[in-house]
């Protein structure tokens, strides 16, 4: 097998302490946006809308610097450590702010700052006239800085710092239009779901420290082969918990669709291109640990596959053009996790990059459409925008074909390579699920595309769609170009990106994978491409041939699953019941305990009376004595326990 042979090329990086040259300036990549954030906030009142220029200049500079750093890494591949001040130094735990730059970082840097820069520009047009225009750019800069801390941190703890800051700034950005209460609550939901993942991440960190005695990425990666398989299993699952929250995987994906409440550039930047990929980045970064537990990797792969499938099913019946894209993002992230889980780390990263291009593009296009349609988002109220918005149409066209996996658009290569790898690594079930998800992807994206752009207009005379201003179309064109040619990064399995990343991802070749079947690579490629075409064809039959443009329009996809999909499989309601209602009962019970029980003197002195509590609330007195009573009860329990212990 050609491609199995290539995987053996893992040559370890040498570690270089960068004190001179471009890389030694890498700390500026983090500091610049931070300064930009502060500067924009401070100058907001004085400069008015002109502050955006500061933010954009900062983003541009950061991008330029990142490009320079990336070029250095390409020219001279190594792991660079830029020494920075110490953060925490207590006994065995030493944490520095050192900057960590290697091939993977370089890729992430380019994606984050590149897409980030484009979205800064796009926001000039999109956010024009907003009352908190300046503040929006400040938050964008803050987000950029947080994401870069995450990417450049040389230590799990600094990575975590970025991880939390990313959550915080995304909270601010999702809730940016807090005038609508549901937006504010979407922000809270996102933050809280992420906090749940953080528990897992923090425990993983403690476990890693207890196991390795260090939190340095280098130390972790070096010592990973010595890991016991049991520890590795637990550690990887804990890491997965953190990654799943940030990257919106089952069961923690629920926040992402709601997060669409934020301004569309935010959706494009945070919820498509950068923040949500943090989980993928984390797992790939720690892939040497991942490969120590194949069981855990299999779990990751299955979580990815089921997320890809479930989100794709839900997306089929969404009507909000941003919601469709949101579920599509969840689904595509599922593909990336499939990649990570089946050991196709580089393919996962490749898909991350192409996804950043085409999903960023699609979101921006959706934003452009909303801009034209006076912020409407219902796909059924659109149609026929092809002629009215030609640039948006053609760029969306590229994005649509890219995400549907049609050759030679970028998405085809990355998705196909993940699925092929799944097949060759013996994950037949995942390969099949992935194919189904790919068909569905092509289907719902075509539905999205057809409903918006084709057919006759289905909106009234109150809106007058028009092409967006150049600040918005230029980023569209750039991203469209990237989505078109992005596949060239790694057109075949041994492409340039693949070789570039080879030294930094886990050693996959000695894991003993066996192909799942006799199919040759070319057949797999054909099947993957066929899946995309099949999905598009289905959608064409359902939404174009059936003449969508008539005044009345009926959703052709029906049935119980479709209904379930429309209600998002009641996952929100389920969580609501579990956490909010049950949790609420529990809290109320505790409060009841703390007030009524303690409060009512009657119940003060013993568990006996607690049982019969409410009956004897006759005397509302006894506060202090109630408190004293419980204190004494506690003392009695303590005394009894300790006396029992010594006897």
């Amino acid at each position: 097998m050609i491609l199995l042979a290539v995987e053996a090329s893992g040559v370890a990086n040498e570690v270089v302490s960068a004190t001179s040259g471009v890389i030694s300036l890498a700390w500026l990549i983090v500091v610049l946006p931070l300064l930009g954030f502060v500067a924009v906030l401070l100058a907001n009142r004085a400069l008015g809308d002109a502050v955006a220029n500061i933010a954009i200049a900062v983003a541009g500079l950061t991008f330029a610097l990142s490009a320079a750093v990336a070029i250095t890494v390409i020219v001279d591949p190594a792991t660079y450590i830029v020494p920075m001040p110490t953060w925490i130094d207590i006994g065995p735990l030493t944490v520095t702010f050192d900057i960590f730059v290697d091939q993977l970082t370089a890729v992430m840097l380019l994606v984050v700052t590149g897409v980030g820069f484009l979205i800064h520009i796009y926001s000039v047009g999109y956010m024009h006239g907003d009352s908190r225009y300046g503040r929006f750019f400040a938050y964008l800069n803050l987000f950029l800085a947080s994401m870069l801390i995450l990417v450049l941190g040389s230590n799990l703890l600094t990575l975590f710092l970025g991880w939390e800051l990313v959550g915080l700034s995304s909270y601010l950005l999702i809730g940016f239009w807090f005038e609508k209460p549901e937006y504010a609550s979407a922000a809270k939901k996102a933050f809280i779901t992420n906090r749940v993942g953080d528990v897992s991440f923090m425990i993983a960190m403690f476990l890693a420290f207890a196991t390795f005695g260090t939190l340095d990425l280098l130390g972790l990666i070096e010592n990973a082969p010595a890991l016991a398989s049991g520890t590795a299993f637990v550690l990887v699952l804990l890491l997965l918990g953190g990654a799943a929250a940030k990257s919106a995987q089952i069961p923690l994906y629920v926040w992402l669709p709601d997060a669409m409440a934020g301004p569309t550039p935010v959706s494009a930047l945070i919820h498509a291109a950068t923040m949500v990929t943090a989980g993928v980045y984390l797992t790939v970064r720690l892939s040497p640990i991942l490969v120590m537990s194949l069981d855990a990797m299999t779990i990751i792969a299955w979580i990815g596959a089921s997320t890809a499938l479930l989100a794709a099913i839900i997306a089929v019946r969404q009507d909000d053009i941003k919601k469709i894209l949101a579920y599509s993002t969840v689904s595509q992230l599922g593909f990336m996790f499939i990649g990570v889980g089946v050991g196709a780390f580089r393919e996962g990263i490749f898909h991350l990059v192409t996804h950043a291009f085409f999903k960023g593009l699609l979101f921006l296009a959706a934003g452009s459409v909303m801009h034209a349609m006076a912020n409407r988002t219902d796909a059924w109220g659109m149609g026929g925008l092809r002629k009215l918005m030609p640039i948006t149409f053609w760029t969306s066209f590229i994005g649509w074909l890219a995400i549907s996996g049609i050759p030679p658009f970028s998405g085809f290569f990355s998705k196909d390579q993940i699925l092929t790898e799944a097949y060759f690594h013996g994950f037949l079930g995942i390969w099949i699920v992935g194919l189904i998800a790919a068909v569905l992807t092509a289907f719902y994206m075509s539905r999205w595309f057809f409903l918006i752009f084709l057919g006759e207009p289905r909106f009234g005379d109150d809106v007058h769609p028009h092409e967006s201003p150049p600040t918005m179309t230029i980023p569209l064109i750039v991203l469209g170009f990237l989505a078109l040619v992005g596949g060239a990064l790694n057109p075949v399995h041994s492409g340039p990106l693949f070789n570039f990343l080879a030294p930094v991802v886990g050693p996959i070749d000695d894991l003993g994978f066996t192909p799942a079947g006799p199919l040759p690579e070319i057949a797999l490629i054909a099947i993957a491409a066929g899946a995309g075409v099949f999905g598009i064809a289905l959608a064409y039959l359902a939404y174009v041939r059936r003449d969508v443009s008539q005044g009345r329009m009926v959703e052709p996809i029906r049935g119980p699953i479709a209904e379930l999909a429309e209600r998002k499989f009641f996952v929100d309601e389920l969580y609501e019941t579990i956490f909010v209602r049950v949790g609420g009962r529990f809290a109320q019970a505790l409060v009841w305990f703390d007030t009524r029980v303690i409060d009512g003197a009657v119940n003060a002195a013993g568990a006996v009376s607690i049982a019969t509590g409410s009956a004897s609330r006759r005397t509302q007195s006894g506060l202090v004595r109630g408190y004293v009573g419980v204190m004494i009860l506690g003392a009695l329990v303590l005394v009894a326990f300790l006396l029992w212990q010594v006897r």
Partner: protein
Amino acid sequence: MPIGYYFILSGLMFTIGLTGVMLRRNAIVLFMCVELMLNSVNLTLAAAARMWGGPDGQVFVFFVIVVAAAEVVVGLALIVNLFFRRGTIDVDVPQLLRF
């Protein structure tokens, strides 16, 4: 007299004081119960001093008496203030702070 009887006696007195705190709502009686508890501790300390044949316990008794005096002064001032503001010395009547 085995020294343990003193300990048991003072322990019982302490318990009585503690029970009184749970039983009574009158702030003054409540403080009396606290005094009872402090005194029983004094008895324990004095008996222990005798048991160990050292001065530490007796010194502690002395200091406990000082503390008790100081506590009573502040406590009674509080009660007087409370009585003039609210007209009662029932510790359970003021219930603005809860939940």
